[in-house]
């Protein structure tokens, strides 16, 4: 009996199961317009887009394909015409990108801030720092280990910008480059009990169970603005310009902005909308 089951039925049942798997998933509707958006890991892994985009998809009937990479790579993908729209956070690089004619209609979408996190014991004494410059200098002088993204992401660009305040970044072995995303970098900082620069969104989303605490925050220079830019259709004629503009319009609309402002993790707002002044009538 068991032998018979094994010989005859099991492969049949397995075949049917595999066949069931091979059915097209409902989301892969080929008749809808797909918009390709390159964005940073911070907006995707925090869960923001997963929460936000279904609202837009339902309204417009479009599907938004999210490709989560660092800001540097997102800009590169847009330049090569591999995506239609980007949501990124590196103001200087964005400006160069638009000035070079690769992107059009850059709009501010939201803002959060960067903070320096480190081990609760704070061996380099950043908690006593009087200014951002002082904090970075302490980190360098007291030989605290700093874990860098090292991946040309928006956060990495920010690190480089900040280290100019302290006359350059620390030298090895006090400066480790991971070349990985924010989550992986935070995890490495946690394991090595080192310091790192993180955006607040990612830290709130994944940093809670880690042995890392904010050691320096709240400085105007730590602001982290996100913009949305559509790829210039004059450079890449195949891009879905109209559909992308609709996404841009929605993200910066009263409705999209209200949804962004309502997104919370652990009771905290992760991204503050900046496209429209919310109290305006």
């Amino acid at each position: 009996m068991i032998q018979c089951f094994r010989r005859r039925w099991l492969p049949l049942v397995l075949s049917l199961a595999i066949f069931a798997f091979l059915q097209k998933p409902v989301t892969a509707d080929s008749s809808s317009t797909r918009i390709r958006m390159a964005t940073t890991t911070s907006t995707d892994n925090s869960g923001l887009l997963e929460y936000l985009l279904p609202h837009f998809e339902e309204q417009s009937g479009f599907i938004v394909d999210v490709i989560a990479v660092g800001t540097g790579k997102a800009l590169k993908l847009a330049e090569r015409g591999d995506v239609d729209i980007i949501l990124v956070h590196a103001p200087a690089a964005e400006k160069t990108f638009v000035d070079a004619g690769w992107g059009v209609n850059r709009r501010a979408v939201m803002v959060n801030d960067f903070l320096i996190v480190g081990p609760p014991a704070d061996p380099a004494g950043l908690k006593n720092a009087t200014s951002l410059t002082d904090a970075l200098k302490r980190l360098k002088q007291n030989q605290g280990t700093f874990v860098s993204r090292g991946d040309d992401s928006g956060t990495h660009k920010k690190e480089l910008e900040l280290w100019t305040l302290a006359d350059g970044q620390p030298q090895a072995p006090y400066h480790l480059e991971t070349g990985q995303g924010m989550e992986a970098t935070l995890r490495i900082a946690h394991e090595k009990q080192a310091y790192t620069l993180t955006d607040r969104g990612t830290f709130l989303a994944v940093g809670a169970p880690m042995d890392l605490v904010p050691v320096f925050e709240s400085d105007a220079r730590l602001e982290n603005p996100y913009s949305i830019i559509v790829v210039n259709p004059a450079r890449h004629s195949h891009v879905k310009y109209l559909a992308s503009m609709r996404l841009l319009a929605w993200m910066t609309s009263r409705e999209g902005q209200a949804l962004i402002g309502a997104f919370r993790k652990e009771g905290e707002i992760l991204f503050f909308p900046t496209a429209v002044p919310m109290k305006e009538k």
């Binding site: 099991l10 492969p11 397995l14 075949s15 199961a17 595999i18 798997f21 091979l22 059915q23 998933p25 989301t27 892969a28 797909r34 390709r36 890991t41 892994n45 997963e50 599907i63 394909d65 999210v66 490709i67 989560a68 090569r80 015409g81 591999d82 995506v83 990985q180 995303g181 989550e183 992986a184 995890r187 994944v206 169970p209 890449h236 195949h238």
Partner: protein, 213 residues
């Protein structure tokens, strides 16, 4: 989540089975011809194919990315960041493995099989068929090894597929994502599910192709 896992598994299986099937169509005849023919430079070619089995998945991903990018030579097809792009990458990864193992399997078939068949009046095609049947077990192993390589690879799938949720997110890219988010147990669970699916495929293959062994 469970429905999503179902979808991701479906994408993985569709893509990898497709890539393996296409690679089989090319590699099994190539491996067979390579084994039964002799020509100058054959050893060098075999060594090359064996070496290509070590092709890193990220290198294939990068090559396919450059080819399929809108600014690349095949950009006008617009297949980057679609399941088709992953199939292309996995097809390339499976080719050398299936070819090399098929070659080894057919080479080890006793030469007398062909000679006996021919002496009994078989046409060259019929004699080749006899040799293929003799090497069946090795050829099945070749296809299964090719499938194992592509269902388990993550490097090229994430580069040319983009890990797009519900579209090009495969089991392995989902595991990478969950690991980076710190959901270690979910990642591990996905790994076990992937193995169970691979086991099912292998059981089906063993049942339908290998029952006379």
């Amino acid at each position: 989540m469970s429905l999503e896992v179902f979808n991701i598994m479906g994408i993985s299986l569709r893509v990898s089975l497709c890539a393996t099937a296409l690679a089989t169509l090319v590699s099994v005849p190539s491996g067979f011809i390579l084994a039964v023919s002799s020509f100058r430079g054959k050893r060098a070619l075999v060594t090359t194919i064996n070496t290509l089995m070590a092709l890193p998945t990220v290198v294939v991903g990068l090559l396919v990315y450059i080819l399929l990018s809108r600014s690349g030579p095949l950009g006008s097809f617009g297949i980057l960041y679609t399941p088709t792009a992953i199939i292309v990458g996995q097809f390339i990864l499976a080719l050398p493995i299936i070819t090399a193992i098929t070659y080894a399997a057919v080479s080890s078939v006793d030469e007398r099989v062909r000679k006996t068949a021919e002496s009994l009046g078989a046409s060259p095609f019929q004699a080749s068929w006899m040799v293929l049947k003799e090497g069946r077990v090795g050829i099945i192993a070749a296809i299964i090894a090719g499938f194992g390589r592509v269902i388990a690879e993550v490097g090229s799938a994430i580069m040319v597929g983009g890990n797009i949720r519900g579209y090009t997110r495969t089991m392995t890219t989902a595991i990478t994502l969950e690991t980076s988010k710190g959901n270690f147990y979910l990642g591990l669970t996905l790994g076990v599910i992937l193995l169970v699916a691979a086991l099912s495929i292998n059981m089906i293959v063993a049942h339908f192709l290998g029952r006379k062994t």
